[in-house]
């Protein structure tokens, strides 16, 4: 069976490798637009922003760049950066609440969405989900409430502003419960890894499954899939991180899962209706930015092996093994 679908719009590609590599991997993965999230290297000033936009231009790639709204405890010059081409703001939820409020005010008058990393750092001193598996492995765990506490707090603040607020890579069922009845300016994004894997996949210290936010319990995974189906979730994104330092003790291994090269294929391999997938990876993200995707690809369904050595990403490793969809 074959279907024709718009290229996807990946709202969460970390700046973990060169724009050239991201552009090439995105092409393989059927990604027409990507939003670069600045968690690996800082992007908070004109210089860093211009550098990434120039590289994207050279690669002829539709790269949107998010800037840090708060960098080292200070507000970034969001108005100037907006004019210079920044398309989104990225913040951690446990920054100074007054600064977060200022970011929301900026976002509403500049009409630029704010992407929230909902995570309480003080409660997150672990390397995987807080679970019996983490205990059996002797690893410190990150509890679900490290996320849901922050979701509840930021949601309350969001109700007072009309800025578009996106909760990025939500992992916990408790967060979904909180976000079920959110106002229309608040959006929910999930990372595709959390729809495929649970913390049990870490097995005996398999570092390919070490990522951030962490893989949660099977119950959380089911709750996220269910929320996608019911469209409580607005977006599925890749959270692509090109991590190469994996042959190390679990606690020292790099965080992240490489999959931009197979993102659209993975999304259409999910146990979700194809129309829902199209909405969550293409239509909804495009709408958020007022963009229309005019490029289409053809997807064929079957059983396909993944060969990560063909990835254009610098991270030629992935825990994904097979696909049910490929781009023709």
């Amino acid at each position: 069976m074959k279907i024709k679908v718009p290229k996807s719009f990946d709202l969460n590609v970390k700046n973990s490798e060169s724009v050239a590599k991201i552009a090439a991997a995105a092409k393989n993965g059927g990604v027409g637009y990507a939003l670069m999230i600045p968690t690996i290297k800082p992007i908070y000033d004109k210089l860093h922003l211009a550098y990434n936009l120039k590289r994207a231009n050279e690669e002829n790639f539709n790269l949107l760049v998010a800037i840090e709204g708060i960098h080292q405890g200070k507000l970034s010059e969001i108005s100037i950066l907006r004019k210079k081409g920044a398309r989104a703001i990225y913040i951690n939820s446990d920054e100074d609440m007054n600064l977060i409020k200022r970011v929301f005010e900026y976002a509403s008058f500049l009409d630029i969405p704010v992407f929230i990393n909902a995570n309480n750092k003080a409660l997150s001193l672990g390397v995987m989900n807080d679970s019996p598996r983490a205990y059996a492995l002797g690893l410190n765990g990150i509890p679900n409430y490290a996320e849901s506490i922050e979701v509840a707090k930021i949601l309350e603040l969001s109700k007072n502003f009309d800025a578009k607020i996106v909760f990025q890579s939500i992992t916990a069922k408790e967060s979904i419960e909180i976000l079920k009845n959110r106002p229309s300016n608040v959006y929910v994004d999930v990372c595709i890894d959390n729809l495929y894997f649970s913390d049990e996949d870490v097995g005996e210290f398999n570092t390919l499954f070490k990522t951030t936010p962490p893989l949660r319990s099977e119950e959380d995974r089911q709750a996220l899939l269910n929320a996608c189906e019911k469209e409580i979730v607005d977006f599925i994104s890749s959270n692509h991180i090109a991590a190469t330092q994996k042959d190390l003790p679990f606690e020292e291994a790099e965080y992240g899962i490489s999959k931009l090269d197979i993102f659209t294929q993975l999304a259409y391999s999910l146990p979700l209706p194809h129309e829902t997938v199209t909405k969550l990876i293409s239509t909804n993200p495009a709408k958020l930015f007022g963009i229309e995707i005019n490029e289409y690809i053809e997807i064929e369904f079957g059983e396909y092996e993944i060969d990560c050595f063909t990835f254009s990403s610098k991270a030629k490793n992935t825990p994904y093994k097979t696909l049910k969809a490929k781009i023709v």
């Binding site: 983490a134 205990y135 492995l137």
Partner: protein
């Protein structure tokens, strides 16, 4: 059977009972030449006095050659991959490599890359299988069998590799296990738990007290050790004249984990554990190398 001992689950019940048969013989402390001509490398990425000495004495009593590699800081922290570390050690031709590392899972990863047997001498908060086996051996020498016996484990269970190994072995040998400690130290586990040490002692046939792992806490969990001892120290007042065994993997925080008076009591098996440790480690070395 497993060539390595990275986790207590690597050995089945028969393996363990065979090791204990050897260990019972080795309690005579006589020197033997069972492992003559074999090289054993002790590589300790984390400081240790008693476990390393115990392994060294065990290997020497069996006639093996022993080399101690002291690696104050993990070479993985200097950028060497675990594959390189393993390949380099293996190239020296040992029959067994005894590894301690502050990171969970390192012995397991090394075992994938080497021809020799890897013996885990403690990895982070993951496992300390030889301590688990010697604890089991000590209890079996007292009771013959663990079936139906009640064992309370007290202290920082969440951060204890000893607890992880003990729990796996004790439950496999059909003992009932109760976890005792403040919420700070109790893991996510399906085993019964309590904060009440008095009740736990009344219930138990044996108590394993653990050392509070202050070095494994990245954040303060108790205001002080004394503040912890207030509710979780094993004292004479608590054990009274009860028929009970008291154990501890050492080193003991005196008057924090266990009071001086209890340490001096004949029901306290701390030194017997150390003695048994050598014999059990001899049994493990013989079992892994000769098979």
């Amino acid at each position: 059977m497993s060539k390595h001992l990275t986790h207590t689950k690597d050995f089945n019940k028969d393996d363990i009972l065979r090791i204990f048969t050897y260990a019972n013989e080795y309690l005579d402390k006589k020197k033997r030449d069972d492992l003559k001509g074999h090289l054993i490398i002790n590589v300790f990425f984390e400081n240790s006095t008693r476990t390393r000495s115990s392994f060294e004495i065990a290997a020497k009593r069996l006639g093996a050659d022993v080399v101690n590699l002291d690696v104050a800081r993990s070479s993985t922290a200097k950028g060497e991959t675990l594959f390189d570390t393993a390949a380099n050690l293996d190239a020296m031709g040992p029959s067994a490599i005894v590894v301690r590392h502050n990171r969970a899972g390192v012995p397991k990863i090394l075992s994938k890359y080497v021809k020799s047997s890897i013996i885990n001498a403690g990895d982070g908060a993951h496992q300390h299988p030889t301590q688990g086996l010697l604890d089991l051996f000590t209890l079996m020498r007292k009771w013959g069998d663990l079936k139906g016996k009640k064992i309370a484990i007290v202290g920082d269970i969440r951060n204890s590799r000893v607890a992880n190994s003990d729990i796996e072995l004790f439950t496999r040998f059909q003992a009932e296990v109760l976890l005792v400690g403040p919420p700070h130290f109790l893991p996510k586990s399906s085993l019964p738990k309590t904060h009440n040490l008095k009740e736990a002692i009344e219930w138990a046939d044996a108590v394993i007290s653990l050392r509070t792992q202050t070095e494994r806490h990245s954040q303060p969990s108790f205001a002080s050790l004394q503040d912890y001892a207030e509710n979780f120290q094993i004292t004479k007042d608590l054990i009274k004249d009860k028929n009970i065994l008291i154990m501890h993997p050492g080193p003991v925080h005196r008057n924090i984990d266990i009071s001086d008076e209890v340490l001096a009591d004949e029901r306290c098996l701390v030194l017997e554990q150390v003695k048994n440790g050598v014999a059990v480690r001899m049994g493990i070395l013989k079992f892994l190398i000769e098979n």
